[in-house]
């Protein structure tokens, strides 16, 4: 985000809000922040949205900041939204790009399940933008990164919610909805035991396991893993389809995945029409080999 903002010209500042976070400031400078505003306060320790809204709103008003950009996360979405209401500012979300022309800024928004790209604008300042995770690659562009700390004035209602127990990373791997990598299995697996191949690859990649309706119907895998028209819709960064033909009922559940790799022994399978990399071959020999290579690489 910082790198992209820096590339637009103008003054770029990074904002770090939290507790025990001062040490992160130099990082922001490395990626393009001329100034880094830091609010370090015990009351900001828990990842709750409302105190952050107070802090950032205060900063925006004090420093007359014109544009505030966030990268998508559950926390950021709540902060951006409440901030918009606090500042009576326009908020555009699901952004994949941003450009500026003179004083005017336009965002590119992906809408309707990625079927249309909308050019969106802001009619006033400040402007708030919420960007899709992974929309930009970080590029180092050393900037001054001078740190300025500030004292956040927090409102009563913002402090009403309290964190009783904070989350710790799950041992069982990400859920399908949150996973960045998904390995999915279909009829081509041949038998329910073969899902072990899919699970192995998913584990090696740190991803989740998904299944097509056909195999869920046949009882090979639970319904909670079903991706498709009558199952879940997912858009991970990487989707590896093993033994899946790619019928439209499945396609609509995963077509907005950033990168799709398909392994199927039928060269005419419809999935090859939209997979970024299609491999015509026997998944029973390819998948175990692939799993081994991935494990070795990550080790």
């Amino acid at each position: 985000m910082l790198s992209k903002a820096a590339s637009l010209g103008g003054e770029v500042a990074g904002v770090i809000v939290g507790s025990g976070v001062e040490s992160l400031a130099p990082e922001a400078g490395k990626y393009g922040a001329a100034t880094v505003y830091v609010a370090d306060d015990r009351r900001l320790e828990a990842p709750l949205p409302q105190p952050r809204v107070d802090a950032i709103a205060q900063l925006v008003e004090e420093k007359e900041i014109e544009t505030v950009l966030f990268a998508q996360s559950i926390l950021a979405a709540d902060v951006a939204s409440a901030l918009a209401a606090r500042l009576e500012a326009g908020l555009n979300w699901q952004l994949t790009d941003i450009s500026s022309d003179g004083g005017d800024v336009t965002g590119k928004q992906s809408a309707l399940g990625d079927s249309v790209v909308v050019d969106v604008g802001w009619r006033s300042t400040p402007r708030i933008g919420l960007f899709r995770a992974g929309a930009f690659d970080p590029t180092e562009q050393a900037a001054a990164g001078s740190v300025e700390t500030f004292e956040p004035q927090l409102r009563e209602h913002s402090l009403a919610a309290e964190m009783v127990e904070q989350a710790h990373a799950e041992e069982s791997g990400p859920s399908i909805e949150d996973a960045n990598v998904i390995v999915a299995g279909g009829r081509g697996l041949g038998a329910p035991e073969k899902f072990a191949l899919v699970e192995g690859l998913a584990k090696a990649l740190g991803g989740a396991v998904a299944a097509t309706r056909a195999v869920v119907d046949a009882g090979w895998y639970p319904y909670s893993a079903q991706v498709g028209q009558t199952g879940k819709s997912v858009s991970p960064t990487l989707y590896i389809a093993c033994g899946i033909s790619g019928a439209i009922q499945h396609k609509v559940g995963m077509q907005s995945s950033k990168t799709i790799v398909a392994i199927n022994k039928d060269p005419n399978a419809p999935i090859f029409e939209f997979a970024d990399l299609g491999v015509v071959g026997d998944l029973h020999s390819i998948v175990p080999k692939l799993t081994e290579l991935v494990r070795a690489r990550r080790a």
């Binding site: 869920v216 119907d217 319904y223 009558t230 199952g231 019928a247 439209i248 009922q249």
Partner: protein
């Protein structure tokens, strides 16, 4: 087995019509009470509801006798129109009769009058010959409509007339006690594939009514049970055709309606292939294209879905569709038996049968919607009269007047005139064609004998390698079945009981017949079962409830309310 051949009828489904009959069980506090209950929000059912509303408005005392909910319509689809599919070209007369001057014909959704028609006799190699439209097919003065849209419109009118329209409600059982019909029982919701309740589970309810009108359309679930229970079978078995249709967005408007006959169907009697296609313009930028074939065909590799795809490759058809886009798809059976297969009586104590479910479809003229509306109006009037007179529905003869009216109306008279036409085509295209012409010219007086009807499932099966000629789907002009199912709007909940009743272990020939017959890829040949038999696997959530399986040796029952296709343009 007959004559050493294999017939689907030899492998009947594990289903008896009596399974759909039950006694009321809910206590008074739990059951739902309505005055007149109509099953099916199609043209017949909704016309009945609208007419009742009109009559009750003029007669408040009668309305009072029907309680808090005088008229209720239950519909198993997601919304009225979701399960309605037809060509369709309709005669406006019944709609005019239904609304009188309460609304103008311009308020009724329509794609405009028919401007002209062309009938082609196609042959292979892209050849085709224009022939004069047979007299039964003249459509001057008729309108092109989408029956799904018509259904939605009629439902709004029914609600405005005071009826409660309840979608996502399937009628699973007909409640019968003391020799009369007391209403229906709706199906459970929230059962898993194994039949056990899931987290959210809603038990079905008894809906008690003074008069029940069954307007279920083709292959009516309760209609079949009622005909069996009350001995209403007609002279000859009922038969069906399967229609598969697509709606296309096209850059060049089609200016007249088109019918084709001949290719890709085969003419010889042994194949039993009777039918043809229709193409109807829908305004300036859409059209409706469908193929209809009788289900008495004998080749196990015959697939109406794929024959339609094949038809589109004919240069005359491809030309019409060029640069177009397929935007909707659907399939449904059409009741074909005509006059000879009509039920003996259209009523029983507490019960009235209306519309296509009662067999009121004229296949040679491809008309049925206005018959449905007409019979719905008459059913409403019969029900109203009996309530007005305070007659007990169990009393013998209460609904005789309904039968009399129906049989003396143009509806049954039309059917009588064409009564042998459909059966004539059992003799093959040429003999059938000659017979049909004779019938038309003499308005049904010739030939002097009545032809017998053979039930669809009694046809001996053959295999010919027909499937090799179906085009490989290209995703632009021709499509595969799963893509078609997707375009029907079908997003049926997967984890629910299988609503299809078939024998799961049958000869390979029967299994292949089902696999190819089904336009939605519900059936698949499973593992070998020895002795020339195979297992048949079923994907019930693909089902668009066309009803073909019921004609060919199985039985379709209603799945959970709200399941199935969500037609909007068909």
């Amino acid at each position: 087995m007959s004559k050493g051949g294999v017939r689907p009828a030899d492998y009947p489904p594990p289903f008896a019509p009596s399974e759909a009959i039950a006694a009321p069980t809910d206590p008074a506090s739990e059951r739902i009470e309505v005055g007149v209950l109509i099953v099916g929000a199609g043209p017949a059912g909704l016309a009945c509801a609208i007419r009742l509303g009109q009559l009750l408005e003029e007669s408040p005392e009668t309305a009072e006798r029907l309680g808090e909910v005088p008229v209720a319509v239950v519909e198993k689809g997601k919304a009225p129109g979701s399960h309605l599919l037809s060509g369709a070209v309709i005669k406006p007369r019944a709609i005019r009769r239904l609304f009188g001057d309460r609304i103008g014909m311009s308020d009724v959704p329509s794609y405009g009058p028919v401007h002209g028609e062309a009938v082609y006799l196609l042959s292979s190699g892209g050849r085709g010959m224009r022939i004069p439209p047979p007299p039964t097919m003249r459509n001057h003065g008729n309108d092109v409509v989408s029956v799904s849209q018509l259904g939605r419109f009629l439902a709004e009118q029914a609600e405005a007339a005071g009826a409660a329209v309840l979608p996502e409600t399937d009628a699973q059982k007909l409640l019968v006690a003391d020799g009369r019909v007391h209403g229906i029982r709706t199906g459970d919701k929230g059962l898993g594939r194994d039949g056990r309740p899931l987290g959210v589970y809603e038990r079905g309810s008894d809906i008690a009514a003074r008069v029940t009108v069954l307007a279920e359309g083709t292959q009516g679930h309760l209609t079949g049970a009622a005909i069996d229970r009350f001995g209403l079978q007609g002279d000859q078995p009922q038969i069906w055709a399967l229609g598969v249709k697509e709606v296309w967005k096209v850059p060049r408007p089609l200016r007249h309606i088109v019918h084709t006959m001949g290719w890709p169907l085969r003419k010889r009697a042994k194949y039993g292939e009777f039918g043809g296609s229709f193409i109807y313009p829908m305004g300036d930028d859409m059209l409706s294209l469908g193929f209809v074939a009788g289900l008495e065909y004998s080749d196990v590799e015959f697939s109406v879905h794929d024959v339609l795809q094949e038809l589109k490759t004919h240069r005359l058809i491809a030309k019409i569709l060029r640069d177009g886009e397929r935007i909707a798809w659907g399939a449904k059976t059409i009741t074909e038996g005509g006059y000879h297969s009509l039920p003996r009586r259209f009523h029983a104590p507490g019960l009235l049968l209306a519309g296509e479910g009662a067999g009121l479809v004229n296949v040679p003229t491809l008309k049925g919607i206005h018959y449905a509306i007409e019979s719905g109006i008459m059913a409403a009037e019969a029900a109203f009269r009996s309530v007005q007179r305070g007659e007990s529905p169990s009393r013998f003869g209460v609904f005789d007047s309904y039968d009399e009216e129906l049989r003396s109306s143009y509806v049954v008279k039309d059917l009588h005139q064409v009564r042998n036409m459909r059966q004539a085509f059992d003799k093959g295209f040429f003999v059938g064609g000659a017979l049909a012409s004779t019938m038309t010219v003499t308005k049904g007086k010739l030939p002097p004998f009545d032809l017998r009807t053979e039930a669809n499932s009694e046809r001996t099966l053959i295999r010919t390698g027909r499937a090799k000629r179906y085009p490989t789907p290209d995703g632009k002009l021709t499509f595969d079945k799963l893509s078609s199912v997707f375009l029907s709007g079908n997003r049926t909940r997967d984890d629910q009981p299988d609503h299809i009743r078939i024998r799961h272990t049958v000869p390979r020939l029967v299994a292949d017949a089902w696999v190819n017959m089904c336009p939605a890829q519900v059936y698949e040949v499973g593992p070998d079962a020895g002795d020339g038999l195979v297992h048949v696997d079923v994907n019930p959530s693909n089902c668009v409830q066309c009803g073909a399986i019921s004609a060919k040796g199985g039985r379709l029952t209603p799945p959970e309310g709200g399941s199935g296709p969500e037609y909007t343009l068909t």
